[in-house]
Each structure stands twice: as structure tokens, then as C-alpha cells.
Symmetry: C2
């Protein structure tokens, strides 16, 4: 595809994301009278579906040959990387949406033949719009993000959820405990998309988790690639875009150091 | 002291906090040219000291009989609860200030004879101003906060740092792991003041940590008292305002349930 075509995709992906966020905020305003969390929970389920459908409708109409992979399952059946695939999470961090009405994001990653082309993570409540386009860099609200510099674990703030620090089926928790102990500190925000965006923006130095779906990481990976972040599975293997993966995203140097801990 | 006197204290505490935040933001703007974290680190150390001195100067001039307890140690030597004591953390969450330039707060708690009277937690980057006055309720940016309702652990989002989930000297980490496993999820933001404010505002359901200093929790306790939050040490004992304490702050019901886990 040529530059003009990608520019059109970029412009529309951005404006659809902002439109989707507005739908979300409007529906949320309406529901502020509902203070019961169970009702907000239903609202979220509906909004998840509606926003995914909103994207699919726009994409099918404008780019009939593109495919869509979404959390809610209204997209296409996708068997391989071929062509252009939009990978969408309408609301990443739904528990936060319900409990906090902040720290949730819309995540849109656009891939061509398996290569990340455009990534958008919109932290709606903070109004922080993260955007990356392959070869052109990553941005937070029009400020270009710096290339990530090497750090060591002892000077790093690591995004990791407490789940992985206790006994669990997916990782040797003693290795994780060693990472926690040696780091400067840990954080956990409850939205993988936001946590990957935070690594790209240098707000945290690494993020690791044992299980993410394509819509959780599709956009984050493109942001990270543009700023020199290193991303693999927690065993060092490359990530498959269309499957569930463990994720270790970190600054250079730190990635290697954490990988070493995790391989013990 | 009479109502008018406390109204004066309230007004000044609020405006000094906003002035202090402005000093912080100004100094931070100046330093944005400095992108090296070690330099930001020096800046934070200086700002911590300057803001504490700023408060002390204002308080000593306006209320010469009040005492001040601050993290940086420029305040008074305080041996008992008698009289009016301002307990101040100029920047709570300094690592976040350095790494993220967000998720840090100014915390001001004002006590009279050991009773919490006025609590302020200002999340500067989010521009979220939490305020409580004994008997008059707690507020977030002029919205009155609701009384906290009972929840169970299985429906709760718990603020807890990964440090306490692995082996450590202060708590049986297996009890903590059980809490983590049974909860709906955990979060960690790296600022105790903000985490206590989040519990008061219902954004998370509980917060626990094994070691906090008076300036970290002084304001948060007053907020929590106004919304029916339950706060004790993690062994259920009452908190001493002038000492380091462990803290378990939670919604009713949940507090009891977590205490039970921690006592095993």
C-alpha cells in the first residue's frame, strides 16, 4: 500500500478512536445516575460490544478488504497474518472502568502481513492519546516520545501484577519475587494497554504479565517498536500476533536482565 | 477552638496547598529541559525541602502555637498529641514524580489533641483535590464523596504492593497471597496518600501496607473517617498518629475479612 493510503488509514483510525471515546463518555455520563456497580457492569458489557461494532461497521464500509480481530468476537475469523488486520480492544481495563471511571483505554493496532503499522492507545479519562506509525516514531499527545535508554533492574520501576508474585501456574514465582526485590519498585494499573504505553513513554521501565490476548498488546507493541523497547514472551521467544502470549516489555538492558531472572 | 478559627485554618491550608503545588509545577517546568533522571532526583530532594519549609514558615507566622511534623524534619520535635499539629508530606510518591511526573501528591493532615480535623490530599498532576473536615464529610473537587458500602473480598479491588506478596520481614506473605488470590484484582500506584484517597473515593476497595510514616497517612485517615472507611494496623490495633504503623484501610466488611486472613 502506498503512503497516501496509509495516511488515510491513520487519519480515520485516529478520528474513529476519538468518536468511540466520546460514545463511551456519553454513555457513562448517562449512567452516573446509576451508582450501583452491577449496573455499571452491564453498561460496560454493552459498551464493549457497541464500540467494537462501531469500529467494524466503519472499517467494513471504508476498507472492505481489511479484517478485524476484536475482544468481543464480532470481527472476522482470522487464520493467518495475511493482509491488513485491525486488532481492537474497545475497553481495556474494564474493572477500572467500573470501579474508577479512569485508567481504561481504547486500543487499536493495525498490521499488514504481520507487520505492525499503526498503533493507538487512548487513555480516555486522562485524555492521553498514544500514537505510533511504523518508521515515524511514537507520540503522546503530539509530543514525540524519546528513544528508551538502557537501565538496570535496580534503577527500574516494573509494572507487574501481584498475581504473578505468589504461586501460580504460569511462572516460577520465586523468579518473579527476585525481580520485585531487586527493582526500585513495582506498579500495577489494571490495564495492559496503558501499562505498555507507560513503558513506551518511559513512565515505567518494564511491564510483564503471563497472559495477554492480541487486542491487549497489538497497539502497545507498535508503540514500543518505535522507541526501541524490547518485547518478547517471558521465555524470550517472539510474540505471535494472533495468539495469547506472555509478555515481557522493557527498556534495553533491563529486558535481558529480567529474562535472565525468569529463565532460572 | 471555635468554628471561625477552624474555617480560617481550612481556607489557609487549602490555599497553601495550591500555592505549594504551583511551586512544584513551576520548578518542574523549569527542569523539563533536564531530562536526566538523576538531575530530576536532585530537584525532587530540593523541592521536598522547599515545600516543607514553605508550609512551616506560613504556619509559624499565622498560627505560632501550632506544631508541624514533616517528612523532611524541619518541623517541631513532637512528643505527644497535645495541641494542634500539622502533619505534612510535601511530595508523597517521589519515585513517581521522578519517573512519571504524575501520581504524586501533597498531603496535609491537621490534628487537635490527637483528633483528625482537616485532611487534604492533592494529586497534583491529575488536579484531583481531596478534602475532608471532621463531621462535614469528604470531597473530591467539590463533589461530596459517598459513604462507603460493605463489600466482600471477592468483589474487591485491593491496593497492595508486590513487596508484601513475597517473603518479607513484616507480614506472613502466604496470608497476603490468599488475599490477592481471592480478590477481584490488585493495584499499586506508588503513593500511599493517593491510595488512601482512592479508598475514600471508592476507586479501590482497600489499601494495605506494612510500613507508613505519619506524613504518609495523616490526611488519608481523616478522609476515610468521613466516609465510613475502617482503618487500623494490619493486626487490628488502632493507629498511633505520631509513629510508623502498618495500615489496613478498607470498606466495612472487607476490613474484617482481610483482618481475618492476616491473623492466620
Amino acid at each position: 500500500m502506498n503512503y497516501e493510503e496509509w495516511y488515510k488509514i491513520e487519519k480515520l483510525a485516529k478520528s474513529w478512536t476519538l468518536e468511540a471515546a466520546q460514545l463511551l463518555k456519553d454513555s457513562f455520563q448517562n449512567s452516573l445516575s446509576i451508582t450501583y456497580k452491577s449496573h455499571i457492569s452491564d453498561l460496560v458489557t454493552n459498551m464493549d460490544k457497541n464500540i467494537e461494532k462501531f469500529f467494524i461497521e466503519k472499517i467494513q464500509k471504508t476498507f472492505p478488504h481489511h479484517k478485524v480481530l476484536g475482544e468481543e468476537g464480532y470481527g472476522d475469523e482470522i487464520y493467518d497474518n495475511a493482509g491488513i488486520i485491525w486488532i481492537i480492544d474497545p475497553i481495556d481495563g474494564t474493572t477500572n472502568f467500573i470501579h474508577q471511571q479512569s485508567n481504561f483505554a481504547i486500543s487499536v493496532g493495525i498490521y499488514e502481513d504481520g507487520i505492525g503499522k499503526i498503533g493507538i492507545i487512548y487513555d480516555v479519562a486522562a485524555d492521553d492519546f498514544y500514537f505510533a506509525k511504523v518508521g515515524e516514531g511514537a507520540f503522546l499527545n503530539n509530543s514525540k516520545l524519546n528513544t528508551l535508554e538502557k537501565v538496570t533492574l535496580t534503577e527500574a520501576v516494573v509494572g507487574i501484577n501481584a498475581t504473578w508474585v505468589g504461586p501460580n501456574k504460569r511462572v516460577n514465582h520465586e523468579n518473579v519475587q527476585n525481580i520485585v526485590k531487586q527493582s526500585r519498585g513495582t506498579r500495577s494499573y489494571g490495564s495492559a494497554a496503558i501499562e505498555l504505553a507507560f513503558v513506551a513513554a518511559g513512565k515505567i521501565d518494564a511491564y510483564m504479565t503471563m497472559r495477554l490476548s492480541p487486542w491487549d498488546f497489538a497497539a502497545g507493541l507498535i508503540l514500543l517498536n518505535e522507541v526501541g523497547g524490547v518485547v518478547t514472551k517471558t521465555n524470550g521467544e517472539p510474540i505471535s500476533i494472533l495468539e495469547q502470549n506472555s509478555i515481557l516489555a522493557a527498556k534495553p538492558g533491563l529486558h535481558e536482565e529480567m529474562l535472565e531472572h525468569l529463565s532460572k
